[in-house]
């Protein structure tokens, strides 16, 4: 009988396990998903998580829910960044291109949360699927100079059963048929759409007036009680916040995995190196820093990287000091780093959208996803309807960025033109993969543990800038039709040097040809027989939709193929 819940500090699950079929690095959307598949099929799994756990009772089989230590607290989760990577001690570096020198910036660059549940904790869990055409853009687009578009080594039809399973396990709300551009589905969503926010109502009316097709976006947030978790009560602080009542599906699969008794989750454990045997083709251990910062290691029969596209690539590079990186015979490791190119168009309205009520984003449209090779309808992305839910953030614009004081400041605080009166359209545009957009190790900068930090080299391609030029003005017109007094397209990257997107993809590109890709069609490294990737890293292209459900569907399939290479879809939905 499993020893649950754990009573050992910094360990969740069965702390007595000491032999593992798999070691997973990262407990987020991909890692938790892979763990569930393996553990429900009887495999013993160790998960290493760099952050700590804020879901009390996550591994407790007694009836009832885990109690999250999250709360509607902007200081804690926002300004003081409870679950965020802290750039003061774990910086990253950035440069737009290699000819700009070693680096242009040291600090926060596109980091994701370090916490049990990973980025699935702070995500507002939008769950649109990619479209069938997104899996063959290499063929559809042909040669795009400077870009490295490629077909995925699998089709939408192959992934569809895994999407459907994922939606059932996590509890995705949505309505089949609501998105006129979506690819065929094998069934409806398990939950109906929940209430839509006021900003959604206003922007959807504007979208309809200019001939677009708004709908309630699918998301992994319970709209009714589902699989032991309550319905969302629209408490407000959602995107970038852990859910205080577990209505978000952030750790639903991870909890299932822990309750099998086949999983041991070690928290505050920072992976530092994958050690291989003499052949270099087999990983034999993961070295990590334990909660006190001491060296430790764990071994298993196979290893699954799920630390995010940047951190997973960094770990491969740190595992081969002075060499090209573990699993890099193709030279592609760390390359084709993609974010979504976000085009943000803000409307300033006389209405007060009270964005602190609701789920951050409840609606949008996909008309701007476009089609390949049509300059009038280029490949952009899904557009979300957003409101500002945060008060400290709103006030800092006037108080700090504009340096207002006295009566002028008071007028802005009172009127909140960029806070409660702002409606936003945000397009998650396709980001053309480029070989030169990459992660490598900074040659000099170290984190506080003495480890080399990831260096991001990135600049946008004309491909996504063209989509921005086409759709930006249309978004301004939508705001006009919705009743905005003012509307403008925010400067690229919000006026900063680095993309703000937290959709981090590529770096361990999947493909059938080991000469041009790092991982195969099941996420396994071509060069390393017992090493897999189960986060955003294998994606060959970014598509134009929020990526979480797709990376989870891939993780299901990767783990399913470990259990049953012939019929992975048959083993991924077992009950605990």
């Amino acid at each position: 009988m499993a020893n649950l819940p754990s009573t050992t500090a910094n360990v969740l699950g069965d702390s007595s396990l000491d032999r593992f079929d798999a070691v997973i690095i990262g407990s987020g959307a991909g890692g938790g998903t892979a763990a569930r598949v393996l553990a429900t099929n009887g495999l013993k799994v160790c998960i290493l998580e760099a952050g700590t756990n804020y879901f009390l009772g996550l591994d407790d089989p007694a009836p009832g829910m885990p109690i999250p230590l999250f709360s509607n607290d902007e200081l804690k989760l926002g300004a003081r960044g409870l679950i965020e990577q802290q750039a003061l001690i774990e910086p990253r570096t950035f440069r737009a291109s290699a000819d700009r020198g070693d680096r242009e910036l040291i600090g926060a660059v596109n980091s994701l949360p370090k916490t049990v549940g990973g980025a699935a904790v702070h995500a507002d869990m939008q769950c649109p699927r990619f479209n069938d055409v997104d899996f063959r853009l290499g063929t559809e687009l042909g040669d795009v100079p400077g870009a490295s578009f490629a077909d995925w080594p699998l089709t939408y039809d192959e992934l569809e059963p895994f999407y459907a399973t994922m939606e059932r396990l996590e509890g995705v709300q949505g309505m089949a048929g609501a998105d006129p551009f979506a690819s065929p589905r094998s069934g409806d969503y398990p939950l109906p759409p929940g209430p839509t926010m006021y900003v959604h109502q206003v922007l959807a009316a504007g979208a309809g007036a200019v001939g677009l097709n708004p709908f309630a976006l699918p998301a992994a947030r319970n709209s009714r009680p589902y699989r032991g978790r309550p319905a969302c009560n629209d408490c407000g602080l959602c995107s970038m916040y852990g859910c205080p009542i577990n209505a978000k599906g952030s750790v639903a699969l991870l909890r299932d995995a822990l309750l099998t008794g086949n999983v041991q989750l070690r928290t505050n454990s920072i992976a530092t190196r994958l050690r291989t045997d003499a052949s270099g083709r087999r990983v034999v251990a993961v070295e990590y820093l334990d909660p006190e910062g001491n060296r430790a290691e764990v071994s298993g029969d196979r290893y699954i990287l799920a630390a995010s596209a940047i951190e997973s690539a960094r770990l491969c590079l740190m595992s081969d000091p002075g060499g090209p990186g573990l699993g890099n015979s193709s030279g592609q490791l760390g390359r084709n780093l993609m974010f979504h190119h976000q085009t943000i168009c803000v409307g300033i309205y006389q209405q007060d959208f009270h964005g602190e009520r609701g789920r951050s984003v409840t609606g949008g449209f996909t008309d701007f996803r476009g089609v390949p090779n049509d300059p009038a309808r280029p490949l952009g992305g899904i557009v979300e309807f957003g409101a500002n839910s945060e008060k400290i953030t709103d006030s800092l614009i006037y108080l700090l960025d504009f340096s207002f004081s006295g009566t002028q400041l008071k007028a802005f605080l009172h009127d909140s033109p960029l806070g409660s009166r702002l409606g936003a359209l945000i397009m998650q545009g396709e980001d053309a993969p480029q070989s030169t957009n990459r992660v490598d190790l900074d040659p000099a900068v170290r984190d506080i543990n003495g480890l080399p930090v990831p260096r991001i080299t990135y600049q946008p391609h004309a491909f996504e800038l063209a989509a921005r030029e086409v759709y930006g003005p249309k978004m301004v017109e939508l705001h006009g039709a919705a009743g905005a007094q003012f509307a403008l397209v925010a400067p690229i990257f919000e006026g900063a040097q680095t993309p703000a997107s937290r959709h981090i993809l590529g770096t361990l590109r999947m493909g059938d040809d080991p000469r041009t890709s790092v991982t195969d069609r099941f996420g396994r490294f071509h060069d390393v027989e017992n090493l897999y990737s189960a986060d955003g890293a294998p994606m060959a292209t970014s598509s134009g939709y929020n990526p979480t459900i797709t990376l989870q569907a891939l993780a299901l399939r990767t783990a399913g193929a470990i259990v049953d290479p012939q019929r992975p879809e048959a083993v991924v939905e077992r009950e605990v």
């Binding site: 607290d73 200081l75 009560n233 007060d352 400290i392 006030s395 009566t407 008071k410 909140s416 000099a444």
Partner: protein, 295 residues
């Protein structure tokens, strides 16, 4: 996911307190709760505190809505700087609920008369990495092993820490104002205090403005936002759990709370024109960015 961040607007810019009427009793956040724990440690000397209070009041003065003084915004800063002087660092409040909102009545979905305890006051322990980061932030990068590991790398910066930034900032503020004491500083007009602030190190100005925003609008368990006036006066609801804004009726379907609608305009927060100064500023940045004014 989507979140409006301040970064989004960085390029858009060309860019004596009144006494307050007490608000009604707020469930779960009475002073009695705070009295059960040891009083939070503070950082400022009385003289420093007075200077910071004065300049904070010049930045966010009192009028019909609460200012930095009335919201006791500086209290949050004073506590944050001394966070490690408490038995447990008072940095991250607990969760999930503050007790300001009731549990929903299971029959109606409306607020019941039962309130959860205030878990915000159960401050969370720090991990090794969190403590390192916060010590660097407060005490400077030389205060922890490897804190200055990148010293000498081009582009790397070190920080003396917020405590030193504030201590030195107050001294430079007095110097810039040409006064010798907090009392003399207090006698200056707001405009003169702000002018002096503008001549202090930029890292001090930045820290002060950033921390004042937190002191105005954070949960009151951190010391500021006294009587929730920051939230009430500036029309922000504050923490809403476990009630939230959607309740489920006896038919199992979701409904808006009548007093705080989610899906429609709130009659208590109706559409209204911007004040002339705000409208003119927004107009300027909109046109400068190639945007459009519709009316």
């Amino acid at each position: 996911m989507f979140r409006i961040t301040r970064r989004r607007f960085l390029e858009l810019a060309g860019a004596s307190g009144a006494t307050l009427a007490p608000v009604s009793f707020v469930p779960g956040c009475s002073d009695a709760d705070l009295d059960t724990a040891a009083p939070p440690a503070k950082f400022f000397t009385p003289e420093e505190r007075q200077v910071i209070e004065e300049v904070a009041s010049a930045i966010i003065p009192e009028d019909a809505t609460v200012g930095a003084f009335g919201a006791d915004a500086v209290e949050l800063i004073d506590r944050f700087l001394a966070a490690f002087d408490n038995e447990r660092p008072l940095i991250y409040g607990g969760g999930p609920f503050s007790g300001r909102q009731a549990y929903p009545d299971p029959a109606t979905g409306m607020p019941s008369d039962e309130f959860p305890p205030n878990a915000f006051l159960e401050f969370l322990p720090l991990t090794r990495m969190q403590e390192l980061s916060l010590r660097v932030q407060l005490y400077g990068s030389s205060s922890v092993p490897n804190g200055d590991i990148n010293a000498g790398v081009p582009g790397a910066t070190t920080t003396p820490g917020l405590r030193a930034i504030y201590r030195d900032g107050v001294a430079s503020l007095l110097t810039a104002a040409g006064v010798a004491s907090a009392e003399e500083f207090a006698a200056l007009a707001d405009a003169d205090q702000l002018a002096a602030l503008g001549r202090t190190p930029s890292e001090f100005q930045r820290a002060l403005r950033e921390n004042l925003a937190e002191g105005m609008f954070s949960a009151p368990e951190y010391g500021g936002n006294r009587d929730l006036r920051g939230w009430i006066d500036y029309h922000w609801d504050g923490d809403s759990q476990p009630l939230g804004y959607t309740y489920f009726g006896t038919d199992g379907l979701p409904y808006d709370r009548p007093d705080r609608p989610n899906q429609v305009e709130d009659p208590n927060r109706p559409a209204r024109p911007f004040s002339p100064g705000v409208e003119s500023f927004v107009n300027t940045i909109t046109l400068a960015q190639g945007g459009k004014r519709f009316f």
